[in-house]
């Protein structure tokens, strides 16, 4: 029987076996000193989570990959700000937010481009528990939400993604975004109101989808 590996197993084969768990602060110290093995270890441990967050934030896989690349290239300097007061994963998300602005615009442009060309939608990974119809419906909903997020200011988009999609607390999200808890909750409230209105408008008038997205 041929060996069938999963992407996670392939990733494990591509990289050296993970060493014993290293304190994040020690890892950050080595990273700041230019240790490439530390960078590799951080990438191996956190790139998947960061990639997921980037996709949820940007709604585009290619833009998400670019953002992940940019975060890790900038990390050897950015890591000097890491003091260990929060998990390294959250620190990486904060760096991603700092670099996200033009990636958000790039992802929105790519979505509009695909719509104009009427390119076929990319199906999500196969989920054994969902029927094809459920799978496609889920994909359509996710795409609609990504388009609706394109209409929001970046701050509201970030707030919604952190609190609603990533399901972080408002305090954690505020800490990542560098703002106050009350401001974060206000942004989430405004974002949800705008998104609901947008989705309801598209549900009522499906043809309006292509014209509304910026």
């Amino acid at each position: 029987m041929p060996f069938v590996g999963t992407p996670a197993m392939a990733n494990a084969l591509l990289f050296s076996p993970p060493k014993a768990a290293v304190n994040d602060v020690e890892l950050a110290r080595r990273l700041g000193a230019g240790d490439e093995s530390a960078l590799r270890e951080v990438y191996q441990r956190h790139s998947d989570d960061l990639r997921m967050f980037a996709r949820r934030l940007l709604g585009d896989a290619a833009a998400a990959e670019d953002l992940v690349h940019e975060v890790f290239v900038a990390l050897h300097k950015a890591i000097r700000r890491f003091a260990g007061e929060r998990p390294l994963r959250h620190f990486l998300m904060g760096v991603a937010l700092n670099h996200a602005r033009h990636h958000v615009r790039a992802a929105a442009r790519r979505r509009r481009h695909h719509e104009r060309l009427a390119e076929p939608a990319h199906p999500a990974s196969a989920d054994a528990s969902a029927t094809p119809e459920q799978h496609l419906e889920r994909y359509r909903l996710a795409l609609d939400l990504s388009r609706a997020l394109d209409t929001l200011p970046l701050a509201q988009r970030v707030a919604f993604t952190l609190c609603e999609v990533e399901e972080l607390s408002s305090q954690e999200a505020a800490s990542l975004a560098g703002t106050s808890d009350s401001t974060m909750r206000a942004r989430v409230f405004r974002a949800k109101r705008a998104l609901r209105e947008q989705l309801q408008a598209w549900t009522a008038n499906p043809q309006a989808r292509k014209g509304e997205a910026q």
Binding site: L14, R51, R55, A142, V165
Partner: protein, 267 residues
């Protein structure tokens, strides 16, 4: 009756599941290895660029040090430093005059008499009293001229200048001694040690070097040294050009006052 499903909540859940992939991890079309290769290539390239920039900066620094060393050995460095100090002084003077909104100083930037100069009487019966300023040595001067920081009242001379002291000629400046060094030594002997005989030798040595940066100051100080040594006639001859305005207003008033006193005290 259950509440209708919230479209936003459904869409959010769909986006979370869509981007999060399935239980196996990220979407299968992701290529973490390719992204890692790009990351490490870019990181190494940035480090190379940083090293190149540092090497270039070090080379520029070494070249600058080399030029400075060459300028020092060829005695160009004091000129450059003096030129820079004069420029700074002129800029500072402009700024001060603008701030005060007053008229510019009448004297030229090179000659800035701050206070009158008079030397104490070299002989007990002389009523001449001189107040000599104590200009700073050129090497520490910030204005490129012997800076006269304060008026220093001369103490009574420690020697009996009726007796002409033995003049210990100062050694001729070696070929490698710069004019500024000679001036500094003369200044130290004159204002620091009050050894006017030795100072006179140094002033003579400096003036023998030809026209230098502080030739007028050296001439004037030589006149003061002569007066201290009781050589009034020579001192008067040395002061005459200053009194007549040959050096503009530099030391003109002081020279005139000193000449008048020397003449009164000279039989």
């Amino acid at each position: 009756m259950s509440a209708p499903p919230d479209p936003l909540a459904q869409a959010t859940a769909a986006l979370r599941a869509q981007a999060g992939g399935n239980a196996d991890g990220p979407r299968s079309d992701a290529d973490p290895a390719a992204t890692w290769a790009r990351v490490i290539a870019d990181v190494r390239q940035r480090r190379r660029r940083g090293r190149i920039a540092m090497v270039a900066a070090m080379q520029l620094l070494l070249a600058g040090l080399g030029v400075a060393a060459w300028a020092g050995t060829t005695h160009r460095l004091p000129m450059w430093v003096a030129a820079g100090e004069r420029w700074i002084a002129s800029v500072s003077a402009d700024m001060r005059s603008r701030a005060a909104k007053g008229p510019r100083p009448a004297t030229s930037p090179l000659h800035k008499p701050i206070a009158s100069a008079a030397a104490p009487a070299p002989s007990p019966e002389s009523s001449v009293r001189l107040q000599t300023e104590a200009p700073a040595p050129p090497v520490v001067s910030r204005t490129g001229t012997p800076t006269r920081v304060a008026v220093v009242r001369q103490r009574p001379p420690r020697r009996d200048h009726n007796v002409v002291p033995e003049v210990t000629p100062a050694p001729e400046p070696a070929a490698t001694v710069s004019p500024d060094d000679v001036y500094r030594r003369a200044h130290q002997a004159h204002f620091g040690e009050r050894d006017y005989a030795r100072a006179l030798s140094y002033w003579d040595s400096y003036l023998k070097l030809g026209v230098q940066r502080f030739t007028p100051e050296a001439r004037y100080n030589r006149a003061i040294a002569l007066a201290h040594l009781g050589r009034f006639a020579e001192a008067a001859m040395q002061l005459q050009p200053f009194a007549e305005g040959d050096y503009g207003t530099y030391r003109q008033a002081e020279a005139q006052a000193l000449l008048a006193r020397l003449r009164r005290s000279t039989p």
